[in-house]
């Protein structure tokens, strides 16, 4: 059988790249919306910032699980 293309090396790196896509978009939305909210109502900045960090922490966990999985399933 003839191959058109062949991949050598670890597929884990590609897996992590894909795993980072979703959380990347998610964190972008969270931060963007928080800035929008702060711009509309600057006095709510404190509460919004805390919730932004919470949201980032939860979303980021997905990307980090992707990173760890790359080491675990070698």
């Amino acid at each position: 059988m003839e191959y058109l293309a062949e991949i050598t090396g670890s597929l884990n790196t590609i897996g992590y790249g894909i795993a980072a896509l979703g959380p990347g978009i998610g964190i972008g939305i969270i931060v963007g919306k928080t800035i929008e909210g702060i711009a509309r109502q600057p006095e709510a900045a404190g509460v919004l910032r805390v919730n932004m960090f919470l949201g980032i922490a939860f979303t980021e966990a997905l990307a980090l699980i992707g990173l760890v999985v790359g080491f675990v399933f070698t």
Partner: protein
Amino acid sequence: MIATLSWLLPAATSEDGGFTPPTVGEFFPGALFFANTPFAITRINLIMMLMAGLLCLFMVVAFRKPALVPRGIQNLGEMMVDFVYKSIVEEILGANGKRFAGFLVGLFFFIFFFNIAGILPLIHISPSSVIAVPMVMAVAVWVVFNYVGIRKHGLGHYIAMNVFPPGVPKPIYLFITPIEFISTFLLRPITLTIRLLANMMSGHLLLVLFFSATWFFLLESDGLLKIFAVPSFLMGFAFTLFEILVSLLQAYIFALLAAVYIQGSLSEEH
């Protein structure tokens, strides 16, 4: 002095003097003392002791003779404690948060000092990047938030409150109850662990990548390739600054999530 310190550093070059890229094995250094016993002390254990000692020293020096008008290191200490107290304890837990202030402030400082070891010269690895450290702290948080919840609501009510969120049509509980159970009692400590671990680990990997690339381009490559040492070093420098931010942010997020979990198990039905 230098000899003792370099004895603490992992080997940067191989025996034949050539360039060897660092491996993941750096997170699992060999034992220095008490080898082959359960009490084996590795380089990372030594760093843990050093950082814990530094934390104690910092606290003692900062708050030994508190002045009404804080100066110098007391100012720094008060600023950090105040930051945790105002932005985590009061913001999330409100009036009844005072009894958790010690736990959360301790958690914050402990994690911050462990994280910052990742960029301190001659130490260069954070104890938080081996799984034991974040895991123990996550288990501590898990025990605390379950304990206060059970103390306040009783075991049955506490579990029911967590796995049966109100305002859901009855048949949906079939799906929601297992999900809520897993996410509250299993995934919370696991994500706390992985978040801190992976952040510090990836930070360390990034720094190693850029600085070993600098080393490689500067000393091992020839001709025009040497130029690449400059951007590589600059990126490494930038990420060192970024790591300071990440250490602080991860300590903040860990304490913040601990406060949110405690608040969740203290609050009435929501």
